[in-house]
Amino acid sequence: MRILIVEDEPDFLHTLAQAMREEGYAVDEAPDGDEGLYKATEWNYDAIVLDVMLPVMDGFEVLRRLRKKKKTPVLMLTARTKVGDRIHGLDTGADDYLAKPVDLNELAARVRALIRRANGDASATILIGDVQIDTAAHRATKGGEPVTLTAREYSLLEFLAVRRGKIVTRTELYEHLHDENDTPISNLVDVHVFNLRKKLGVDFIVTHRGQGYCVGE
């Protein structure tokens, strides 16, 4: 999953980004509204964390312009806890709201929930065959037995699992599993798919030649 964090306070941006990376997300950063809007329109993020008080263009404006083009789930972040601000934010098209100072665990949980809902899931647990994926705990079990996965492997699995039944292209995988600063090697995805098949069963991930991968058909 790849998310964008738009926050003008460098230290706070860094803190948020680090926290979300440790949650297994590929994280892009933007220090102001202008850059935030540019990135948000250029890429298909799974979620965006957007600060309200931004230089150049404030969070509301970024959201208003973004909503003309995209439905990316957006969590607004602000120091202002006024109800009016929250209502305005939600009415402008925000999907959730969180007031500073934020609890990083809560932020992670809310982002998780946003992504889940955006993909039409109500539960944090996804069951495909005998493979169960707990998106909150970042764990997978096969037939009740825990499966040890690397962070990348888990991210790939989760991304495919939330889009189960759909074909996910390699480009999509690259885009969603790496942030802007990564220089992914093109066959790295194949390596992760190979490893996942080894751990979860060869037939778990189906390759559609020339199109992409799919799970849970």
Partner: protein, 519 residues
């Protein structure tokens, strides 16, 4: 508010008292006039009768006085004896005329019946009258010669006067009004009438007058109450509106229909007071909220960093990075708190400034030199145009202003721009001006530039740091000196900040300071 202390009540009491006095005076006067009028009427009637009687007697002649009977006073029981027979020596200078003409009783009585039975007389002294008239005639000596009917039992002869002419005199005796006269020979004629009808009439009149007076008073009181209520109503409205505003929404205003009157002025004054209170509260609320917001960001950083660091085992490097980030946040909070404290001290205005003689030119030179490395780094030229500008000022405060202005100038100037510091005297005060050829400030920001937490350019504030308190503090310091900090700027025309410090005459510390400097 107690009812008895209300203005309406007081107006009513005064109004009522005044009304009562006026009505009572009016009634008393009317009553007196009416009474004297009635008496005059009575007197006229008496006069007519007395004249008639006198004429009749003059025509027919009085019954001749009986021969003197020197053997004692008559046993006259009709009058007080003192009047007829004063004790010897009681009336000095008064001749005892009746002694020689003492009226004998019995045979002297009984004037000729035809005289007093004349039709004029009986017409005048008709006993069928509501207030019948009566008459008495006394002889010169004192004995009663004739009477009409209905004479009161205690009737007595008036005292004779020296000049016994036909002068008519009146007297009020008991319940009777009487008029009498003396004929030249000395007979006394008296006509009288009971005052009972007049008194009855006056009593009725008094009742009527009282009733009318009470009615007028009641109407007056009611009218007064109504008028007072009308006059007071706007006050009540204003008071109610003011209470409502004071209790709740300060943004509300008193709306009164009285725009031109004294009450309208009162409402306007109250409205203005409320407006200022409202603005002060709003400013205070905004300030608090801004301060909280500014503090919240570093707190967020510290909380997030520590939460992240404690989530799992980290390397020493990671811990170090976390601590460094936390330190930066803490320093920012420290700076903010220091600024807030300084502002609150300046706001309190109780803190006396440490004003000493100093020269703004010297301070300007020092700070230009301090700023030079930073300016060189940004390729910004520094210029000085320093003329002596002595003044009494708190050098620390002035330094803070200069550092702030120069730092801002360097921050906002572009490579190749110039910053110029100029000082000179003006009107006994001193002026220092920091101007730059930078990008300038948009007109919409200028009025707010010195407001707390105001940032002209949001896009730069985070990289340039600061919470937007710097210029607000500078302005407060300038004002604490009795001076002014002003700005002139236009986009692409640079900015120019001017600090004016007035002559330190208002500062009691200035002369001793100068003395100290001289020694």
């Amino acid at each position: 508010m107690k009812f008895r202390q209300s203005i309406r009540w007081r107006i009513q009491v005064w109004h009522g008292a005044l009304l009562l006095v006026v009505i009572a005076g009016f009634c008393a006067t009317t009553y007196r006039l009416q009474e004297s009028n009635a008496l005059r009427h009575s007197d006229v009637a008496l006069d007519v009768r007395l004249s008639t009687l006198t004429g009749l007697l003059g025509h027919h002649g009085l019954p001749g006085p009986p021969p003197p009977r020197p053997d004692g006073p008559p046993p006259d029981g009709n009058g007080p004896p003192g009047d007829q027979e004063p004790p010897p020596g009681a009336g000095p200078g008064r001749p005892p005329p009746r002694r020689e003409g003492g009226p004998p009783r019995g045979p002297d009585r009984g004037p000729p019946p035809e005289t007093f039975d004349a039709p004029e007389i009986s017409a005048l002294f008709n006993s069928q009258d509501q207030a019948p008239f009566y008459f008495c005639v006394w002889s010169r000596g004192g004995p009663l010669l004739a009477t009409s009917g209905r004479v009161p039992d205690d009737e007595w002869r008036p005292k004779s006067v020296e000049k016994t002419s036909l002068t008519k005199m009146t007297r009020d005796r008991a319940n009777f009004r009487e008029m009498y006269a003396f004929t030249p020979p000395g007979e006394c004629l008296l006509v009288g009438q009971s005052k009972a009808p007049i008194e009855r009439e006056m009593r009725d009149f008094a009742w009527k007058l009282g009733g009318i007076g009470a009615g007028v008073l009641a109407i007056g009181l009611a009218g007064g109450w109504l008028l007072a209520s009308r006059a007071i109503r706007p006050i009540s409205e204003i008071s109610a509106a003011a209470s409502r505003i004071a209790a709740g929404n300060l943004a509300e205003r008193i709306h009164t229909s009285e725009t031109e009157s004294e009450l309208g002025q009162l409402a306007a004054v109250l409205d203005e007071t409320f407006r200022r209170l409202d603005a002060a509260f709003a400013e205070q609320a905004r300030f608090t909220s801004d301060a909280a917001h500014e503090l919240r960001t570093p707190v967020s950083i510290i909380l997030g960093q520590t939460q992240l660091a404690l989530a799992r085992e980290r390397s020493a490097e990671e811990y170090r990075a976390t601590i460094e980030t936390c330190q930066r946040a803490a320093k920012r909070m420290h700076g903010l708190i220091e600024s807030l404290l300084q502002l609150s001290v300046l706001d309190a205005a109780g803190q006396p400034l440490d004003r000493r003689p100093c020269d703004l030119a010297e301070l300007g030179r020092e700070h230009l030199e301090m700023m030079r490395p930073l300016a060189d780094e940004h390729h910004i030229a520094l210029e000085a145009d320093l003329h002596p500008a002595p003044c009494a000022a708190d050098a620390g405060g002035i330094s803070q202003i200069l550092v702030n202005l120069l730092t801002n100038a360097v921050k906002y100037s572009r490579s190749g721009d110039k910053i110029r510091v100029a000082t000179h005297r003006e009107n006994g005060g001193a002026i220092i001006r920091v101007s730059d050829t930078g990008p300038g400030i948009a007109a919409e920001h200028l009025p707010h530039l010195f407001e707390r937490f105001y940032r002209a350019d949001d896009s730069r504030n985070r990289t340039t740091g600061g919470a937007g308190l710097g210029l607000a503090i500078c302005k407060s310091i300038a004002e604490a000196h009795g001076g002014k900090l002003t700005v002139e700027s236009a986009p692409d025309a640079g900015s120019s900040f001017t600090l004016r410090i007035p002559a330190g005459v208002d500062s009691p510390l200035a002369p001793p300071g100068e003395l100290k400097a001289a020694t």
